[in-house]
């Protein structure tokens, strides 16, 4: 036991003495929380648009006014004709153009119908749809004003209740995702690199030659990262709670327990990677390029999993962080207990066991 602690201590020294790695380990989660919390969002404000008004009458003026005073849009320019629209889009600054045909108000009064063209720069389809919808809403508002809100017969009223996240904050969606991402990446990357580094520099052999169970050598490498990851987790939770006002409705203990499970899964994966690579470069490349994007994609917090084609959805089932994401949401946001997530926990547990068996077996054959 004492020897084990000696190894663990050595590993802690390695980690803490490398300032740049510490920057990554602790800086990354903080940066991600701040960025996701405050900078990365799909809402659009102050989008620059242009208007091409062939009527210039009362109705168009009123509509244009409404648009100008909404905080979604900034009217950059009034165009003279719509040939200029293409040029405006090409500069990249303008996202939307609204065209009012001639005799707009007249058509409205006499024929009860008029058209407005909303031309969107759909090279970013997301922005295009969102902005177009904003315009539609504004015009619908104007239409309501025209009808003087006469009481409609046979009115169906709807009441909407937003459950779990009444303020529609983005945090509830991505904070669990950031947790998953950070834990996965750090544990896999760091463990694999740390073990391979010793292999490369030859110090691994020294350790293996010591009167010490080689498996414990490996485990001692994983321990600092287990500890660091839990600290990281605590930091993320504190930041989310205080800075981003994220709810923590369920049992914090259960959360940490599940997180420990994920950490062990990730560490086993790191161990496996270290067994199949000989150089630090390969270990890093596999961990980063081979893992960063899959985890980012298939956990389900950046892009909804339901949208993906079936084969990709199947692939996502093999990514441990996907199950962890579900577990965290259930505990943190829905406030559920273990009975709700036992299935996901079991899957995660099975993955861990499988990975551990695989990697330890490989490790053994290397020794032999």
């Amino acid at each position: 036991m004492k020897q084990f602690f000696a190894f663990v201590q050595k590993e802690f020294y390695h980690v803490f003495r490398d300032k740049k790695t510490l920057l990554l380990l602790f800086g990354m989660p903080v940066v991600q929380i701040v960025l996701f919390g405050f900078a990365l969002t799909n809402e659009k404000k102050n989008s620059k648009i242009v208007i091409c008004d062939y009527s210039k009458d009362l109705a168009t003026q009123r509509i244009i006014n409404k648009i100008a005073t909404s905080n979604n849009f900034e009217i950059e320019k009034a165009l003279l004709n719509h040939q200029q629209i293409e040029a405006a889009f090409k500069t990249g600054k303008i996202k939307l153009a609204i065209v009012f045909p001639a005799n707009f108000n007249e058509s409205l009064l006499h024929v009860n119908k008029a058209q407005v063209q909303v031309i969107a720069d759909a090279s970013d389809p997301n922005t295009a749809t969102t902005l177009t919808n904003y315009v539609i809403n504004i015009i619908r508002d104007y239409q309501q004003e025209l009808t003087h809100q006469t009481r409609q017969p046979l009115q169906i009223n709807t009441t909407t209740r937003m459950v779990y996240n009444p303020e529609l904050k983005g945090t509830t969606n991505f904070v669990p995702g950031v947790m998953a991402l950070v834990l996965m990446l750090i544990c896999v990357l760091m463990t694999s690199v740390s073990i391979v580094k010793e292999k490369e520099t030859g110090t691994m052999e020294v350790l293996l030659v010591s009167p010490f169970n080689p498996f414990l050598v490996i485990i001692s490498k994983a321990v600092p990262y287990l500890f660091l990851s839990l600290v990281n987790l605590a930091v993320i939770l504190l930041l989310s709670y205080f800075l981003l006002e994220m709810p923590i409705n369920g049992s914090v203990l259960l959360l940490f327990a599940e997180s420990t499970l994920l950490i062990i899964t990730a560490l086993s994966l790191g161990l496996l990677i270290s067994n199949v690579t000989a150089s630090q470069q390969s270990a890093m490349l596999i961990s980063l390029m081979g893992m960063l994007l899959p985890v980012l994609l298939f956990t389900g917090f950046m892009f909804p999993l339901e949208n993906m084609p079936k084969p990709l959805q199947i692939v996502s089932n093999f990514i441990p962080s996907k199950w962890y994401y579900i577990i965290v949401k259930s505990i943190m946001i829905k406030g559920l207990g273990f009975t709700a997530i036992w299935k996901e926990t079991l899957i995660l547990f099975a993955m861990t066991v499988l990975l551990l068996i695989l990697s330890l077996k490989k490790f053994k054959t290397r020794l032999a």
Partner: protein
């Protein structure tokens, strides 16, 4: 110059002799280019609606079938009570619950008014908003149909109607892949570039061969060029394969604008990025450090580049960061040139800024790299 030739020979030999690295830098980007656009889709579809119908009238059934056939929704099931339905939220089986009260049809006809309750799983705020919007739209449309059946058309259409005609340019089918693929191209090239370059130099530091180089008459700029040029060539190669082969064949994306313009900007961009890789290597003594620094920087660059979320949606301070990020400009240029056919005048500023970055990063790195300590 001659020395440079020898340096380049050595670099290329070393890179190509390492099979793992080669596989990584060519195969992995291509795989990701194939998978990412398929997965990266923000469009909200397949929304699961769970129905609690206490009325079981012809109106409630009509409404439900209208919802199911709207194309936005999937009917996830029927329940007896709201409490019962709520469990669907807990298991993520439902995104929305629609509760139709008893006497829905009777009240609508007799009292001219009736209420519906919608509950939304709002963990994903965007999805919740859109889902709710679609559902209220369908209900409103249903409402209009009922009115039409009961009230005479002439009286009804005394309400003026403004019809909004949405038109989408450059991407008529709102194909999200058109948008993502160019951006992903950029990200892939960026990652390979920055990592490989910095790791490569640090590896020499670790192995001690850099000391040998420092003792020879190889000049600083010759050494640096010898490191940058091979990766520059490799990255251009990766970009070319991704753009001309994968993007064209798999996604049918052909640049609308000038390919020469794209390559011109790529050339400049790579110089800037290699400068970053170089810079990172001057601050790292071990490969692990280089990797940590590179990853930290790359992550920020990627997130703040406008690839996943738009820059205009960011608060002021974040926009400054995005503007100081070279990746932002390349993504912009790639999208503008590939999808809209923008020309040189449109991206003049981008060129200028990127040149500035190139000078800044490379200059800083060269200052740092000292043959004598």
């Amino acid at each position: 110059m001659r020395i440079l030739k020898f340096l380049l020979q050595k670099e290329f030999r070393q890179i190509f002799r390492n099979p793992g690295i080669l596989r990584m830098i060519i195969v992995v980007p291509i795989i990701q280019l194939l998978i990412l656009p398929l997965a990266a889709d923000y469009e909200i579809k397949n929304i699961n609606v769970f129905i609690v119908d206490h009325d079981h009238s012809s109106y409630s059934q009509k409404l439900v079938s209208k919802i199911g056939s709207s194309g936005y929704f999937k009917l996830a099931g029927y329940g007896e009570s709201y409490q019962n339905a709520f469990k669907q939220f807990e298991t993520d089986n439902a995104d929305l619950i629609l509760e139709i009260p008893a006497n829905f049809e009777k009240n609508l006809v007799k009292e001219n008014e009736s209420n519906l309750l919608i509950a939304v799983n709002a963990i994903n705020g965007t999805k919740a908003n859109v889902g709710n919007g679609y559902l209220t739209q369908v209900i409103a449309s249903f409402n209009g149909e009922i009115r039409l059946a009961w009230v005479s058309p002439t009286r009804y259409s005394s309400i003026p109607l403004i019809e909004v005609v949405p038109v989408n340019w450059f991407n008529a089918h709102l194909n999200y892949r058109y948008f993502m693929v160019p951006g992903i191209l950029v990200v892939l090239v960026t990652m390979v570039c920055a990592y490989m370059c910095s790791l490569n130099i640090v590896k020499e530091k670790e192995a001690g061969t850099i000391e040998q180089i420092n003792v020879t008459p190889i000049k600083k700029h010759e050494f640096i060029l010898g490191k940058l040029i091979p990766f520059w060539i490799i990255c251009v190669f990766i970009f070319s394969i991704s753009l001309l082969v994968v993007a064209r064949v798999v996604y049918g994306i052909v640049p609308v604008g000038s390919i020469a313009l794209l390559y011109a900007f790529l050339a400049l961009y790579l110089v800037a990025l290699l400068g970053i890789g170089l810079l990172i290597s001057t601050y790292s003594a071990t490969q692990q450090q280089a990797m940590s620094l590179a990853f930290f920087c790359m992550m920020i660059f990627m997130l703040m580049s406008g690839l996943f979320t738009p820059i205009d949606s960011m608060p002021g301070w974040a926009q400054y960061i995005a503007k100081a990020n070279p990746v932002t400009y390349f993504i912009d240029v790639v999208r503008m040139v590939m999808l809209k056919g923008s020309g040189f005048t449109d991206i003049k500023m981008h060129f200028l800024i990127m040149a500035g970055f190139a000078v800044l990063f490379n200059g800083w790195a060269i200052l740092n790299y000292k043959k004598t300590t």
